[in-house]
Symmetry: C2
């Protein structure tokens, strides 16, 4: 459903089949595991059985003698890493920690931490050889929970980590708290003192995984001249290039990263794990080497998102949210870098709140280093604030959506960092939710309840670079460098078609490798349709200009005497109208100056904020604790929906991931730091049988910072579900759950006072 007026566009807003669709559903698309090269051998990693231990010795001599083994690797084979931060395309990265996370040096910091690697003629020979590697560990007590890790007496993951304040100041004593940040405004305590109603609670969420279908993989070929080719599944081949270059201290220009099709990422396919290992194994063996993770490897050793603890106090006076105090503690995993900053920055963004103090803590624990997961940091923060607002609404007898509408952020409202919002659409989302058939319908029956929640995601811009080459038959090859995860080949091709006034299917998009297109930042931050779309628009205008010039030259007039519209160049004089179609100009390219190639290359500014408001009805079985999602409506300001089906798909996917996070998913650890549920059998993600059809309501408040009004749409849909479902369960049961997941066990335990 789209609430927009009649569209001014011809291609934008339609729903063509994605160019890569048939190839993917028929199994022809090439993923990383499909790569096969002459002479290719197989790499496998030895992983730590301990969550926290010193490595005292690694003896690989027996493994090196095993049949079929051509290379064995430990961290000693990596060049010494500098202990400094560097911008490597996914924000600042500590180079030593980046390297240590790939192959542990002096210490293992989580179970599954890689300590050595073998390359052999067959995967089985590699696995057998791993068993012959002797690692002497000095086992240390692990710390597995964010609150435990913050205690002064907690085991330290690193003796040289000190808490860094925003001022740059560092703590006197080493700590598991890597950093502390704060956003503050007004007089919070005074506002609480005057409040009509206050809610104060602690909220916790567990570490959860993105759950992409395709495990990490990397195939590398290190040539004798030092050039390296890497085939991999990644959201950002240029980031892989930058990070591999840094870990191996190898010039980026000698590294070519070929992005294969990607079987899901959700943020988790931005960091590198296997790529430098495959590369060094290739260097040592002289062969191309392919390395694959198992599902257990993916759970134990790739980056999930943080478990969190949020202590929140919210005050309301006369229906206005006047005060918020929040302490956010996020697990970073083994190395610093949780998304607590994003959580702290964004949690209040749907609202206009005068007095607040938000403190954020980035905390290391003996679990895998977290990585981005769809709207990283925001869902847990929204779980807290949106749960509290729901409770406050009930306290003051307000409709929970009306409370949100009354306090909504609008154009000009300042975010907690002081930035004023441009035109945004939160209020429109709340209005659409209020007016929706879903919200107007009654919710009836025992153990049933309804919840709502809003969410915000900032969206990113960053760099994109595309080339569009006109074929002589009037089709156009669009050459871009953004991995296509959610249909961006389509959404970019549609924008080029719109710019050129051509039908969609004459645009043929291709995702090129790092040697074959200008620099492109990751497919992440919901940036690709927005930022690469701007580059595509620029390339389209470039083609328009060249076509006008060529037509004008042929007609013997100045280029500015002719116009380009609807796929035609037109010359209008008092006496006549001359026209040439795109295809006619394309056909004559050879004789009018050669191939026509457009270019767009930019650092995109003006990313539009995304807002969403969700409504969910649930039924709770008080005997089994099972929560059934009866109905789910996700309202979202999508800016302009380029391809509404894929926008809806993004919303539906994000909601379903949120449902899993809310109800079932969690990293379940034993006391020694062993993940007990590291398979899809035990790690319970929602299946199609677990969820109803998610109704997506597209509100279109065009982003003024984009030629077609595009906002990113992929991340914000995962922000409201955690709270919306908790609020619905509270409505159904009268019990407020503040810890996720609200799994059958927890529901039964809490409802029956067993926990």
């Amino acid at each position: 459903m789209t609430t927009t007026e009649r569209s001014p566009y011809k291609v934008i807003g339609t729903r063509p089949i994605r160019p890569d669709g048939v190839e993917k559903v028929t199994g022809k698309a090439q993923y990383g595991a499909d790569v096969r090269l002459p002479g290719m051998i197989h790499g496998r990693l030895l992983r730590s059985p301990h969550a926290h231990a010193y490595i005292r010795r690694i003896d690989t001599s027996a493994a090196e003698k095993m049949p079929g083994v051509l290379a064995v690797l430990t961290h000693h084979d990596f060049p010494a890493a500098r202990d400094e931060m560097q911008e490597l395309g996914e924000g600042a990265v500590n180079l030593k920690e980046l390297s240590d996370n790939i192959l542990a040096s002096d210490k293992v910091l989580y179970r599954g931490h890689a300590v050595a690697a073998v390359a052999a003629l067959s995967p089985h020979q590699a696995e057998e050889a791993l068993k012959k590697i002797v690692v002497e560990y000095e086992v240390l007590p692990p710390v597995l929970d964010v609150m435990d890790a913050m205690r002064p007496d907690a085991p330290l993951l690193s003796e040289t980590r000190f808490t860094r304040e925003m001022t740059g100041q560092k703590s006197e004593k080493p700590s598991n708290i890597a950093s502390h940040l704060q956003f503050k405004s007004g007089d919070v305590e005074a506002a609480f003192a005057e409040a009509d109603a206050i809610v104060e609670r602690d909220y916790t969420t567990k570490m959860v995984h993105q759950g992409y279908i395709e495990p990490h993989n990397a195939t590398a070929s290190w040539n004798a001249d030092g050039t390296i080719t890497i085939w991999t599944s990644t959201q950002g081949p240029f980031v892989v290039r930058a990070q591999v270059a840094e870990v191996l201290r190898h010039p980026i220009s000698t590294i070519r990263v070929i992005p294969m099709e990607i079987g899901g990422g959700f943020g988790g396919k931005i960091p590198i794990y296997l790529d430098p290992v495959a590369a060094l194994l290739s260097k040592k063996s002289g062969r191309p080497v392919k390395v694959l993770m198992s599902r257990t490897d993916v759970f134990e050793a790739s980056g999930p998102t943080s478990g969190t603890h949020i202590a929140l106090k919210v005050g309301v006076k006369d229906g206005v949210i006047t005060a918020v105090k929040a302490d956010l503690a996020y697990e970073a995993g083994a190395y610093a870098g949780s998304p607590v900053g994003a959580g702290a920055l964004m949690m209040l963004s749907p609202y206009n709140i005068e007095n607040f103090q938000i403190d954020g803590y980035d905390v290391v624990v003996n679990k895998p280093k977290t990585s981005a997961y769809r709207a990283p940091g925001a869902p847990a923060a929204a779980f807290a604030i949106e749960s509290a607002l729901d409770e406050l609404a009930h306290k003051i007898g307000a409709d929970p959506l009306e409370l949100r509408k009354k306090n909504t952020a609008r154009e000009g409202t300042r975010r907690v960092d002081g930035t004023a919002f441009p035109r945004i659409g939160h209020e429109e989302c709340v209005d659409a939710a209020l007016n929706s058939a879903h919200y107007r319908s009654p919710i009836e029956g025992p153990n049933r309840g309804r919840g709502v929640a809003s969410g915000y995601w900032i969206n990113a811009g960053m760099q994109s670079s595309v080339v569009a080459a006109v074929n002589t038959d009037g089709t156009v090859n669009l050459i871009e460098g953004s991995t296509d995860i959610g249909g961006t080949r389509a959404s970019l091709a549609m924008q080029l078609a719109e710019t050129l006034g051509l039908p969609f299917d004459v645009i043929r998009p291709t995702v090129a490798d790092t040697d074959s297109v200008g620099y492109n930042d990751v497919t992440g931050g919901s940036r690709t349709t927005f930022a690469s779309g701007m580059a595509v628009h620029e390339a389209g205008l470039d083609i328009q200009r060249q076509m006008r010039e060529r037509a004008a030259k042929g007609w013997g007039v100045a280029a500015d005497a002719v116009s380009y519209a609807d796929g035609r160049v037109t010359l209008k004089t008092d006496s006549e109208t001359k026209e040439l179609s795109f295809a006619e100009i394309a056909k004559k390219a050879a004789s009018t100056g050669g191939p026509i190639v457009g270019r767009g290359s930019l650092t995109a500014r003006g990313a539009g904020a995304a807002y969403a408001t969700h409504i969910v009805d649930v039924e709770v079985d008080p005997d089994t604790g099972k929560v059934t999602i009866l109905r789910y409506t996700a309202v979202q300001d999508v800016g302009t929906a380029i391809h509404p089906s894929y926008v809806e798909g993004q919303i539906q996917g994000g909601v379903v991931q949120g449902i899993g996070w809310a109800l079932n998913e969690e990293y379940y650890y034993d006391d020694d730091g062993r993940m007990a549920n590291s398979s899809y059998l035990d790690y319970r993600m929602p299946t199609a049988l677990d969820v109803p059809m998610i109704d997506a309501v597209l509100v279109e408040v065009p982003n003024p910072g984009h030629p077609y009004g595009v906002r990113g749409v992929g991340e914000v849909p995962i922000v409201p579900p955690l709270a919306a479902i908790a609020n619905a369960i509270a409505d159904a049961t009268g019990h407020r759950f503040t810890s996720l997941p609200m799994s059958p066990r927890r529901v039964v335990e809490e409802l029956h006072g067993l926990s």
Copy 2:
């Protein structure tokens, strides 16, 4: 050896290691046969055992039932081909003949002509299945020699082929002569009547093969949505795309051709043979299909160059060549399209001759359809004219080089088609030969002799399109679409380095596929370093402009206030000089507007003519007929030598191919049209043991049509050797050989009067 003055260039003229060198010598480079895809199966072709026959029936039913067979194909699976000419990137092509040559329809026209194809799980299963295909032939008498084929009573390859005149007029009766062309000027008969000396002879050459090491190959994947991906060894992926599109009547925009590394081409890797077969087998089987030729397939069924018969009469008066009459008859093979036009156009180009009549005949015979072979058409023509000039020089007592110098073409001289030459370097070549240590040295000893000859090649321009993307570390990815056969990654990267004032090794060239770069014509006609070099230069200027704009913006001045030179942008005012290096501007790209990407896209005009003059000393063993090449000096006007080593390599390679052609190579047929020597054991190409070091003398007369003076260099070196060696043998033996090859057998037979 380079005769140039001190170079104005920093990178051009140096000899760096080619970017693809290490990968190739270490076996890591990926050729077509290396492609392996999941589910890939293997295709093989059934070929005709007859040189000329009607196909009455093909029964594939038994083959279809063979184990492992997933698809069987005959010409009936191709869409009906239109019997018309179309421009498909390698000149005009008859669409029906293009299709029929790939899989025969009603008639087979040469032994080895493909009639059916099978795809099976293994190559062996495919080969076994081929044996089960029943083809009923009605065998016809073949015609194997160009002169035989021109006889009125010759068996006709096609009842519907009529001789086409340049006027478009057609012959009344069908004929094996596909076309006749003529260049004529002055009064030839009058000039002969006044001549001091005349030579009149018939010259013949045999069909010879390019002899590239890598056989033809194609792997194709036809997806359910009709998109086709083809991995192949080709000189022109865009031509493959165009031709496959035409044969399959499939839109070019749905076909992606990925050029693999190429193991030699020399013109023979321009046409398509296997690509549409692999594609249709893939469509039928639903699997990716790889098809490879054997060496025998390559000889029997890919395109060699024409056997020729040239009747030539040349007259001289007062040392001036006053009259030429030439009849050139070239074998086209099974379908029209010999290079007789090029031979006729170019044979007199080294000279300024007033009166001439040149007639050319394109003649079909029951042998494989010829394709381009290095300077196609020119070597046989040069063999004739340069042999005759040698004989004339001896007749009139002139030094053979002095005769050539006296008659040399210069700037303003008209080619036989009336085109006036711009600045050319034939006279400089003759002078360099005259002054060479080789020519000044005596040639002594029994059975030894010296010969000289000149040659000309026109060189091509055509379309090129490149993109150059600046990396943040100050390196540049050069993305081009020209298959790299002779070192063009290096020669293009060098031109970009020169344009940008950067060292060679910061430029990283990549050859992209047809979906990933603008249109590029074939690597052929010695055009790539010239034409793609112009595009590279344009892209470099584009980067210069962007860097000037960004630096100027940072300094707060207009872009035209700053200059770019030597890899730096400089602002000079009365009071100060500001500078930013290329790397500094590259590093800041993200914050100054995004990735910096340059573009060059053009139809190159101004290709420079190439001239060469060769000197060769031989020793002939009168008992065995073996001819030993004692010394060989090849002088060539190379314009500007971008990479002198690769220019020398091109010259040496061309000369050695010429030596093979002159002395040993030939398609040897029995009376039934069976090639008797279709292996490298029997088809005698020169090895390193057969030839001395070839001395290449580079004369540099810059081409005024190119920013760096580049002329094509790859083809002309094969033009003079045939005649130069024949002239040397005549000098050594006193016997003039007018038929190639001058193999031991022929030499013995002619010297001893046995033939």
